[in-house]
């Protein structure tokens, strides 16, 4: 029996086997496709669609995938995003060419060579005291232009009732925001040397995040299935900070955030966290995470998909797992298909798995490998698994 995309995703998250493993692509930066491979995809598929950017943000470089391409990719979700305030978008559109992009938080990106933007503008880099945080001009989260489009878009998707609706507000993540405001190395040092200050900064950010998240969820109403939050907690080899530091400082913040969201929506909590976060999975489950992304198989113990599935597969849905480190950029289409088959075989049984690339499909990934990935889901991902395409 064929299901709608929405039914497929919701069944998988309920840990039931749908008709095939769902595909999550193109709905957020972390599940997105950069502009170069997107252009190549459109060319390959003969699709004429504009080169629009997610969050109306060219410097991020992630494509807003058109509907025809989304359909061809077989993506089972559709995204609802927030925007920076209209005044911030306009100020950035009107700025001098190649000048720094500055967001509503005051942090921003520098163009280090044509088209390559990196988050290098860190307005709180030298801050070490709570007084400096009190004086800082924090962004206005009540600006209605941030979410003015949200209610209508979500209602339209809900009325269509075809795709799972995934709400992906931009970086309402306390730790990531602290990195953006202070620089990653500076903030990590503050966590060690000035934990009270670091904690105060995180809670200050959290307060802003919750205001916008509140407006966003209010605009969505019941028309949302998945809400994406997160914070990158892992590195290639282990955690960014000790489990003890996470539990002491950041976990209560994440728990508070999830509780706040849970009060306002029944949407599933999708938590994005890069790197090897194996030692924190029980903590994330405990505070209410339901979908873990991106399952970075190239990082430490996250390579051990069998153990992930065995230990947490009955309670946690995994989203991601298709390697963007070597397989998607460097593999042949056959190797991509084989990898998709391998991952589905391990994570797919019993539902609880959504196929996606490990983070953004970067500019070094050939379009034919993206097609190989999604076509392999049709081939290997049809339930009952192991029988090939229907």
């Amino acid at each position: 029996m064929t299901m709608t995309s929405r039914e497929r995703v919701l069944a998988a998250i309920r840990h039931e086997e749908p008709d095939r493993v769902p595909i999550v692509l193109g709905v957020s930066n972390a599940t997105g496709i950069k502009m170069t491979p997107y252009r190549e995809l459109k060319l390959r598929l003969g699709i004429a669609a504009p080169d629009d950017y997610l969050y109306a943000w060219p410097e991020l470089g992630t494509a807003a995938i058109d509907e025809e391409t989304m359909a061809r990719l077989g993506s089972d979700v559709r995204g609802v995003l927030d925007l920076e305030p209209a005044s911030v978008l306009e100020a950035n559109r009107a700025r001098a060419p190649h000048a720094d992009y500055i967001d509503s938080w005051g942090s921003g990106a520098t163009e280090i060579r044509p088209g390559d933007w990196f988050p290098m503008v860190c307005p709180l880099r030298s801050a070490t005291t709570v007084e400096e945080l009190e004086e800082y001009p924090w962004p206005d989260m009540d600006d209605p232009t941030r979410v003015a489009h949200v209610a209508e878009e979500a209602a339209r998707l809900a009325a269509e009732n075809r795709f799972a609706i995934m709400a992906t507000p931009w970086l309402l993540f306390p730790l990531e925001r602290a990195f953006a405001l202070q620089g990653m190395d500076t903030f990590l040092m503050n966590l060690a040397l000035r934990p009270d200050f670091a904690e105060a900064l995180l809670w200050r950010i959290q307060e802003r995040c919750k205001i916008l998240m509140g407006h966003f969820l209010e605009a969505l109403g019941p028309n949302v299935d998945i809400i994406k939050i997160g914070d990158d907690l892992g590195t290639q080899e282990s955690l960014l900070m000790s489990p003890d530091m996470y539990r002491r400082i950041l976990k209560p913040i994440h728990a508070d955030y999830i509780a706040f969201i849970r009060e306002k929506t029944e949407a599933k909590i999708f938590f994005h966290t890069d790197g090897d976060v194996f030692p924190l999975i029980d903590d994330l489950l405990e505070i209410g995470v339901e979908i873990l992304n991106p399952i970075q198989t190239s990082a430490g113990k996250m390579a051990n998909l069998e153990e992930l599935k065995a230990r947490w597969g009955d309670r946690l849905t995994f989203c991601g797992g298709i390697d963007t480190h070597r397989v998607l950029p460097g593999g042949t289409p056959d190797e991509v298909r084989a990898e998709v088959g391998r991952v589905i075989e391990i994570l797919g049984p019993g539902g609880g798995y959504l196929v996606s690339s490990v983070h953004t499909v970067m500019n070094d990934v050939p379009a034919e490998n993206i097609m190989a990935m999604v076509d392999a889901v049709q081939e290997h991902g049809t339930y009952p698994l192991g029988r090939g395409a229907p």
Partner: protein, 216 residues
């Protein structure tokens, strides 16, 4: 315990705990008491750095603790470095370091710099977003024993091969060892791009560097 031992213990503890203020103060105090700069470096700071590296490798400490220890070391080194140079202490080797073009990630690179300097290398940091020709010029002009290139992204890791090609074209490849590092780096990439080795993290950078230039 003698006053000198106490002082060295204090410096060791200050670097280990990342107390930059205290590391600088104790360094100044030691120099004032006539302790040799090399003694402060080799008998207190380097052992502290080695200990934090060991704890990092065994998972007892993580990046925040590593960064603050490196920062404390750097603070004290700004005082000691000119004194050690003036005393004519020979370095173990010369290391040119940089993050490749198109990439700005430097947390790992900066940690490597501190570990290498602590291990007696002269480190020249070319910074971030370093164009290939700048690496070539640095090899020609500075004649380092080792060049380290860092990249965080799979897209910028492509620069390793391009830069090594440039170094070969300039006829300099056999004069220098090339190490690469960063998130996308593994032995397969070392083989593909024709580098001499890689370090998975800052604490092993010293070991790998010593090994490629034939030191035990």
């Amino acid at each position: 315990m003698t006053g000198r031992e106490q002082l060295l213990d204090g410096l060791y503890a200050a670097v280990l705990s990342g107390d930059a203020h205290r590391a600088v103060a104790v360094t100044r105090e030691g120099l004032g008491d006539g302790v040799e700069p090399t003694v402060l470096l080799f008998e207190a700071m380097i052992p502290a750095l080695e200990e934090i590296g060991r704890r990092f490798e065994t998972g007892e400490v993580f990046l925040p603790e590593m960064l603050v220890a490196a920062n404390a070391m750097q603070g004290a080194m700004t005082i000691l470095r000119p004194l050690i140079v003036a005393a004519g202490v020979e370095t173990v080797g010369k290391f040119v370091m940089g993050t490749v073009a198109g990439d700005i990630h430097d947390v790992g690179k900066n940690l490597c710099n501190v570990m290498l300097e602590g291990a007696g290398f002269e480190v020249i940091d070319l910074g971030i977003n370093v164009p290939g020709p700048t690496f070539v010029d640095a090899i020609r002009e500075l004649e380092p024993d080792v060049v380290g290139m860092s990249a965080f992204l799979t897209t910028t890791a492509l620069e390793f091969a391009r830069n090594i090609e440039l170094i070969e074209e300039a006829g300099l490849r056999d004069r220098v060892k090339i190490l690469i590092g960063g998130a996308p780096v593994d032995q397969a990439l070392v083989d593909t791009v024709g580098a001499d080795g890689f370090a998975p993290d800052a604490s092993s950078a010293v070991r790998v560097t010593r090994s490629v230039i034939g030191l035990s």
